[in-house]
């Protein structure tokens, strides 16, 4: 665009000159107006309308090629896309819903591909291509979960397998005042790192119910999402993206919420040093190899992604976050000899002891890309909360994530078998098991308290403290 055209565009934006608005058809107006109802902030409403009209102008030469019947759908798509660009925390819900609708529509477009080939006009195809090109890339997709592509018509030359070199071990390559660089490419920003309360925890032997000696070694990782405000990755959001990230790091640090935080650009911040506990998963349960962990604040690293959990649609991570998360996991697993089975998601370890329900927090209760991270699928593992302590779930969990993860069903099936064997009802067995939870929880807390005061009892607030 030449400078004079740019100047005119800016003048138009400010309302200093007029532009022919006739191509903004009533159909388009009705469509976008229907979407503005929930936008309470006048600035965001203005932003939405301006973005939508700008987009429709960019496509004005292609809109006439779309069959009239399909135009309302195109307008709606553009409207939803405009909604994803809204700023501010108050619009988070609107953005989320719009992203979901776009994802659903994109799936629909793929499914309708065949009918497009048969019946739709060339113009529609061109428009669909344009829309696809201009869709903001907000989420990264995991290769393992990517939808299957349509088979090519001709036999393409197979791309040679890309073999990269990986170091056999991971070592500290370079250490600066504010960073650490590791041989696998992981770069950790340590400028915000603080020393927290020293890690020290007790765990329970599953077979005997005895409290085992205190330990201070990290044994696992719990993956979280921050559930903070998420903006689409667009150049115009740059300052807000940076500000959000900065504020989030400061907040997480102030409350000692996680050991590591990975922002939207894939920057890994170490918040607490590795010897400290973090307030990330207090009321949480996991078991492995005969050992039961009943408060994961100490034993597990808290690694959080600046993101919002989404039970459906694309993975709520950027490509950069995905890559950084993998490298960090690899580093922690190797450095501390962590059993990969103890790398879990917050949503599947979180419990509410009062209601005896699982999934009190739901972040990553679905869709964590364990396979991509080189980890076993923790969703397939019977959760100790259900299997050992008889916890259940309610409609709220179903509303949040749909069906629980497969391990829950497996654990429930095993419980039913146990109930049959012992000649009691499943409910009665569950009651017995929940009493066991109370007892073990208390024993574990007391054991820890006897040596270190106030380390085990979960704090009243903080991430993962249910």
């Amino acid at each position: 665009m030449d400078p004079s055209a740019q100047e005119r565009r800016r003048a138009l934006e400010k309302g200093l000159v007029c532009e022919d608005p006739r191509e903004l058809s009533p159909e388009f107006a009705r469509s976008v107006e229907g979407l503005t109802r929930d936008i309470k902030d006048p600035v965001e409403r203005l932003r939405f309308l301006r973005n939508s009209t700008k987009t429709i102008r960019q496509l004005e030469d292609q809109i006439p090629k779309v069959p009239p019947a399909a135009r309302p759908l195109v307008y709606k798509y553009l409207g939803w896309r405009g909604l994803t660009m809204l700023k501010g925390d108050k619009a988070a819900g609107i953005r989320r819903v719009a992203r979901g609708k776009i994802a659903a529509l994109q799936i629909g477009i793929v499914l309708a591909g065949a009918s497009l080939l048969l019946g739709a006009s060339y113009g529609t195809l061109r428009l669909a291509t344009s829309l696809g090109r201009r869709t903001p890339t907000v989420e990264a997709r995991v290769h393992a979960e990517a939808p299957a592509k349509a088979p090519p018509r001709s036999t393409p030359t197979p791309e040679p397998e890309v073999l990269t070199q990986r170091p056999n071990s991971i070592w500290l390559v370079e250490q600066g005042r504010d960073y650490e660089l590791y041989s696998n490419g992981l770069r950790i920003d340590t400028s915000q790192r603080v020393k927290g309360t020293r890690r020290s925890y007790a765990l329970i032997d599953e077979a005997s119910g005895n409290v085992l000696p205190l330990s201070s070694e990290p044994v696992g990782i719990v993956f979280h999402t921050t559930e903070s405000d998420i903006l689409s990755l667009e150049p115009e959001n740059n300052s807000s993206l940076l500000r959000n990230s900065k504020n989030l790091v400061a907040y997480v640090k102030r409350h000692e919420f996680y050991h590591y935080l990975i922002d939207r650009f894939g920057r890994v911040y170490q918040i607490l040093n590795d010897d400290s506990r973090a307030n990330h998963a207090g009321f949480a349960v996991w078991a492995n190899a005969g050992k039961v962990y009943m408060n994961l604040n100490h034993a597990f690293f808290g690694v959080s992604f600046e993101s919002r959990f989404a039970p459906e649609g694309p993975l709520p991570l950027t490509e950069a976050q995905l890559q950084a998360g993998r490298l960090l996991t690899e580093h922690l697993v190797r450095r501390y000899d962590i059993d990969p089975k103890l790398c879990v998601a917050h949503g599947i370890v979180s419990v509410n002891p009062k209601t005896r329900k699982i999934g009190h927090h739901v972040d990553w209760a679905k869709n964590f890309p364990f396979k991509t991270f080189g980890l076993p699928d923790a969703y397939e593992v019977e959760p100790a909360s259900v299997r050992l302590f008889g916890f259940g779930y309610d409609d709220d969990l179903a509303k949040a994530i749909g069906e629980p993860w497969p391990g829950v069903f497996k654990a429930e099936a095993e419980l039913q078998k146990d109930a049959l064997k012992s000649g009691q009802s499943t409910d009665a067995l569950k009651q017995t098991l929940t009493r066991r939870f109370d007892l073990w929880f208390e024993e574990q807390s007391q054991a820890t308290k006897s040596t270190t005061s106030s380390l085990i009892t979960p704090a009243p607030a903080g991430p993962g403290v249910n």
Partner: protein, 352 residues
């Protein structure tokens, strides 16, 4: 489900709080640079805050005594040779006291070329109203009138002068048409679709926008000053005094009680008829009107629209002849004096 992620909502709230506490984040400003008043608007936690200052000045002969009195009474002034230039809110009081006319840094919506001190006074008034930007490059949106025929070059100079001044305060200044600013502040519920009119001191500005995009912008060089000067000349009173009476007690719904009120009614009717006639003609001959799918609302703002009965007068003028587009409602802004500044603020926040 709301309580499930309670701690994470705290993360979000904390992020917001931290952002609010961040001193490196400035405050966008909306400024209505009107012929009669300058109004600034900024967003605060509990809503929009506005402040205003009269855009006028009066020179008085310099004396140490006068200077001391002005200083003691905290009346803004500066010395220019053998004169003291009193500006802002106190100007009208002095003018009425000495039975002289106030002078204006601006005329007909633009910088007044006949006033040597116009730019200096205007900048002095605005300095008292607009703080320096906390953050270099903070957005400030200021209102400008539509270009009248033959005055395009003057508008360019006016806009550039203001922009440069705001930039010296550290802002990134963006201009917005007055009428469109009214639409931004008053027609949010209609998705910024409709006709916005700013009836100011120097002129009346009209914008017709569709989904926030302006499709018609124009102004007429008649405003509150036209009424004040015309009435002043027929009743032989200073226009400044007419302005005070007009703003304090004019009620256009009541029959005029004296010659002055009668003159005010006559010139108000003349202004409104001219305005409606101009809109009617502009809309009728416009070849760029949007295909609106519902009748358009009209909202009127500006100090000249403040007297009681202005809306009814406007409605009568509208009904006198057919109007080229369907109108859903006619209303005066809840706070007509600050509407343009509030609209400019929305533009500034959008530009941020």
């Amino acid at each position: 489900m709301d309580d499930r992620k309670d701690h994470l909502w705290k993360v979000q709230e904390g992020s917001e709080q931290a952002a609010a506490e961040d001193p490196s984040r400035g405050t966008p400003l909306g400024v209505d640079v009107g012929t009669s008043k300058i109004v600034a608007a900024r967003r605060r936690t509990r809503g929009t805050e506005t402040s205003m200052q009269l855009n006028a000045f009066i020179p008085v002969p310099f004396s140490r005594f006068t200077e001391t009195i002005l200083g003691q009474n905290e009346i803004p002034y500066f010395r220019d040779g053998d004169e003291l230039i009193i500006f802002g809110g106190a100007t009208e009081r002095f003018a009425n006291m000495f039975n002289v006319e106030t002078r204006r840094p601006m005329a007909d919506g633009l910088l007044n070329p006949k006033e040597r001190m116009g730019t200096v006074v205007l900048e002095s008034i605005m300095r008292g109203l607009i703080p320096k930007a906390k953050v270099q490059g903070e957005v400030l949106s200021f209102s400008v009138p539509a270009a009248s025929e033959g005055r395009e070059a003057e508008l360019v100079y006016h806009e550039a002068s203001l922009r440069r001044f705001f930039e010296t305060l550290g802002y990134r200044a963006v201009a917005i048409n007055e009428g469109l600013a009214v639409i931004f502040s008053e027609l949010e519920d209609q998705n910024f679709t409709g006709i916005g009119i700013s009836c100011g001191g120097g002129m009346c500005n009209v914008a017709l926008a569709y989904l926030s995009i302006p499709s018609l912008l124009f102004g007429i060089s008649k405003g509150g000053d036209y009424i004040d000067n015309s009435v002043g000349s027929v009743v032989d009173e200073p226009a400044t005094r007419i302005k005070t009476i007009k703003e304090e007690k004019l009620d256009l719904t009541k029959a005029p009680a004296d010659k002055l009120e009668k003159a005010l009614h006559i010139y108000y009717e003349d202004l409104v008829e001219s305005l409606v006639d101009s809109i009617r003609k502009a809309v009728a001959k416009a070849d760029k009107l949007p295909r609106a799918h519902r009748p358009l609302p009209i909202v009127i703002a500006g100090g000249t629209a403040k007297p009681k009965g202005f809306k009814e007068l406007f409605e009568r003028a509208m009904k006198a002849k057919p109007f080229p587009v369907d109108i859903s409602e006619i209303r005066v802004a809840a706070d007509p004096v600050t509407a343009t500044a509030r609209g400019a603020l929305i533009a500034a926040l959008y530009e941020k």
